[in-house]
């Protein structure tokens, strides 16, 4: 049994699909590739395959990870080449290595993700006031409680969860950029709870109220994933 971990990039062309769609995309690509896939036991065998963390719809990504179990020893380089031929435009493999077969499952290691949100102004006559955004962000972060609706089961009452603790950091990006304004959002994710970047941006726009541009969109990009090393965050890529 060989466990191979691979890194990939998701680009504009494929950012519109959901996590389950991404899972299917990789599973079908792996099936087409002819690689010696390992299957789970039981009546409904499936490929032993995982993605590190669900990627939200309409978000591109820089440094995502997946893992797959193979029944035969396979050179990571060959793996990359073989799988790459079966992937559509918009998903690009960036590296692969053999992982310890008994290491914890990839998704269980991810605790946080860094997103970059870039503002796009559709009406060119409108200007963006950096200070207004900075102040709105400050107001948002000063709250002790930000309630987000939880996914509701049919017939059940709508419940809310406080997601403020899941916003680890949120700050204006002062670096040179082609966009009028950029935000960095470091958000908790994974089994211990999390918050979607889109929700945080919605709350920010709510804070801006009348001050927000009438025609603007956010472009979201996931920069990297993090794992927890003795209480501090380290990029997932570094342990690999």
């Amino acid at each position: 049994m060989t466990r191979i971990c691979f890194r990939f990039v998701r680009k504009e062309q494929l950012k519109h699909i959901s996590h389950l769609d991404m899972m299917r995309l990789f599973q079908r690509a792996l099936r087409r590739s002819g690689l010696p896939l390992a299957f789970s036991e039981g009546y409904n065998p499936h490929i032993r395959f995982n993605l590190a963390a669900p990627l939200p719809v309409n978000v591109t990504a820089e440094e995502e990870f997946g893992e797959v179990f193979l029944t035969e020893k396979t050179d990571p380089k060959n793996f990359l080449g073989t799988l790459a031929r079966q992937l559509p435009e918009g998903v690009e493999l960036a590296g692969a290595f053999v992982e310890d077969e008994h290491a914890p499952a990839l998704p269980s290691r991810v605790v946080a993700a860094l997103y970059r949100a870039s503002l796009i102004i559709l009406d060119e006559s409108e200007t963006v006031d950096y200070e207004l955004y900075r102040e709105a962000l400050e107001r948002l972060l000063s709250k002790e409680e930000i309630l987000a609706p939880r996914a509701r089961k049919k017939g059940k009452k709508q419940t809310y969860v406080n997601v403020r603790p899941y916003i680890i950091e949120a700050y204006m990006n002062n670096q040179e950029s082609e966009y009028p304004l950029e935000l960095n959002l470091l958000l908790q994710t994974g089994s211990q709870g999390g918050v979607a970047p889109g929700f945080v941006l919605e709350q920010l726009e709510h804070e801006l109220g009348e001050d927000r541009p009438s025609q603007a969109n956010w472009k979201l990009h996931r920069v990297r994933l993090y794992r927890d090393v003795n209480g501090s965050l380290e990029p997932l890529s570094e342990g690999m």
Partner: protein
């Protein structure tokens, strides 16, 4: 200034399920528009998830795109949110592959699979900014064509289409497209091109025929051009093994209704159920060879990565070497954990045996369509299966470990009496009793009851539909009786949508203004219960002063002209009449006699 392309990209991000509009799927064919002579847009008047499950789409995609000098792209009905976005930003409907406006294509071809998609057809034309009526279109507008089962009575849509294609297009569509391109290049005007195309087999140009009415009764078609044939014959693929079939079909990113590889065992059906339009318009039966099916299946799995292979046909278990084919496929594909499935099962022991072979894992539900609950009524509709056979087959299924069953029945079948309706409940009660005796396991029973819709080119095309009050009454009888039968889950079809289906299935050109009006009033996605508004349709009929009941409830006479009599489905009218008469004889003698008086 923003480009159209970047505007479309922004729209796609604003809507629910953006992948419906983005294209770029695995095996998508992307060609430059400048590099080909003919651009064909295939329009499916329903959501992406529905259209992408249509095997016809995938076959034609292969058939057209294998030619280097032409291209086919796809477009589906946009959901309400996308429609709003397109209208608000004043962008025309675009095709998936290139995001180019649909109206910039040379030919736009609609797939007409069911009557309740007609309002969507108009909506797509309007969103594409193509004039709705054929006569309003200019030399720069695309040719608007339609095909599929509804093209066998396309009269309600006739004024909106430049031509209809009758029958199977995979072999000759490229020829027709190529001929159209040549005629255009020779500089002929639009109407002249249509008249020349009309002489091709399978092509019906509605503007060359004028319906004649006497006292508002339809009495036949008058030909306006001698090049238009008196009878349009359907086009048929003689040899399926050599016809185009996709071995590298499109694989969607989002889950579609049928998300799997498909091999078609045979076309047509020899069973001859008298209500079934597919059973008549796809005649005769033509089989693919087992060798070719095996080879196709192998390539499909290699090229798609699908985990399921479906063996489809109108009645798959009628394929002569099915067991051997399944054994061969199983040997070849089980290593890769590819599952085979049979979507249409007959209620007999042979089918149960095959189903058992296919499902080594958890056995959940089996689906059957007895259609009628009494042997007498099953004889009338020619669904010949005895209750004993049903019980034996189901016993086998229980022994094999199946957990539940779904049964399809119809109400309002010709010759049906209230006793037949009550018998649906009684039969289910007997089955439940039978299951209890056989096993301690809990066996679920789902019963879905639809309303009979008379369809053109079937022996029942002359039969009236049961009136809506009567349908409601019978549905109520069922609802009440099933309530007393625990463990049976009963569901039914909306009577209003079945009524509308019947109106259009047997309709003529007078219905075209009604469709337009209903669309203007906001009708969309009429096949979806959450969108269907019977009130709006009724308003449209009222405003246009068209009597809908005249089409649905009237018993047509064998002697009268039918709006589709100039379209030939491959089965002569005399045969349909004979089959119809046989069905009448198979009712009780008294009723048969009573019914005969009407003719």
């Amino acid at each position: 200034m923003q480009t159209r392309e970047s505007k479309i990209k922004q729209l796609i991000e604003q809507v629910w399920k953006p992948a419906r509009y983005m294209g770029n799927e695995w095996n998508a064919v992307i060609k430059g528009h400048a590099g080909v002579d003919l651009r064909f847009a295939f329009a499916f008047p329903d959501l992406y998830e529905v259209g992408m499950s249509n095997q016809g789409l995938k076959i034609l995609y292969e058939s057209v795109n294998r030619h280097p000098d032409m291209l086919m792209e796809r477009v589906f009905s946009p959901a309400a949110d996308m429609e709003d976005c397109l209208r608000n930003s004043n962008l025309p409907l675009f095709a998936l592959e290139s995001h180019k406006p649909v109206r910039d294509f040379d030919v736009v071809g609609f797939s007409l699979q069911y009557e309740l998609s007609y309002s969507n057809v108009l909506n797509m034309l309007d969103l594409a900014k193509i004039p709705l009526y054929s006569e309003q279109r200019s030399e720069t507008d695309p040719l608007v064509i339609g095909g599929g089962p509804c093209a066998f009575n396309p009269e309600p849509l006739a004024p909106f289409f430049d031509l209809f294609f009758l029958g199977e297009a995979e072999e000759c569509l490229p020829e027709v497209l190529s001929l159209y391109k040549d005629l255009r290049q020779q500089g002929h005007p639009r109407q002249e091109i249509l008249a020349r195309l009309a002489s091709q087999e399978g092509i019906y140009v509605p503007s060359l025929y004028c319906p004649v009415y006497s006292d508002s009764n339809f009495c036949g078609m008058k030909r306006l051009d001698s090049r238009a044939p008196e009878m349009v014959n359907k086009k048929l693929v003689e040899e399926l093994d050599t016809a185009p079939y996709p071995t590298a079909p499109l694989v969607s990113y989002i889950q579609t209704v049928h998300d799997r590889a498909v091999i078609e065992l045979f076309r047509g059906c020899s069973r001859g159920c008298r209500f079934c339009q597919a059973g008549y318009i796809f005649r005769p039966v033509r089989r693919r060879s087992r060798e070719q099916l095996f080879e196709t299946a192998r390539q499909l799995i290699n090229n798609t990565g699908y985990e399921e292979l479906s063996l489809v046909s109108l009645s798959s278990t009628d394929y002569p070497q099915l067991e051997r084919l399944i054994n061969d496929l199983d040997r070849e594909l089980s290593q890769e954990r590819v599952k085979c499935s049979l979507p249409s099962l007959r209620l007999d022991s042979y089918s149960i045996k095959l189903a058992d072979k296919l499902h080594q894992g958890k056995k959940s539900n089996l689906t059957f369509a007895p259609e009628a609950a009494t042997e007498r009524l099953r004889k009338v509709i020619r669904k010949n299966i005895s209750e004993e056979e049903i019980l034996t087959a189901l016993s086998d299924a229980i022994d094999a470990g199946w957990q539940g069953f779904k049964f399809y029945f119809m109400i309002g079948l010709p010759g049906e009496e209230e006793a037949d309706v009550e018998e649906i409940v009684n039969l289910c009660g007997r089955l439940r009793q039978h299951f209890k005796q056989k096993t301690k396991r809990k066996i679920t029973i789902n019963v879905s009851v639809s309303t009979f819709v008379p369809k053109a080119h079937t022996p029942f095309q002359w039969e009236p539909q049961l009136t809506m009050p009567e349908v409601h009454k019978r549905q109520e009888i069922l609802r009440k009786s099933f309530k007393k039968l625990p463990g049976v889950d009963y569901s039914w079809h909306d009577a209003g949508s079945s009524f509308l289906e019947a109106v259009f299935a047997r309709g003529d050109r007078s219905l075209a203004p009604v469709i337009e009006r209903a669309w203007q009033l906001g009708c969309r996605f009429d096949g979806w219960s959450e969108h269907f508004s019977f009130d709006l349709w009724q308003e449209a009929f009222r405003e246009m002063e068209v009597d809908a009941e005249h089409y649905a409830y009237r018993r047509f006479a064998h002697e009268e002209y039918l709006p589709w009599d100039h379209l030939h489905c491959g089965v002569d009218k005399e045969i349909l009449i004979r089959e119809h008469q046989k069905s009448l004889e198979q009712r009780t003698p008294e009723e048969a006699a009573h019914d005969q008086d009407l003719f």
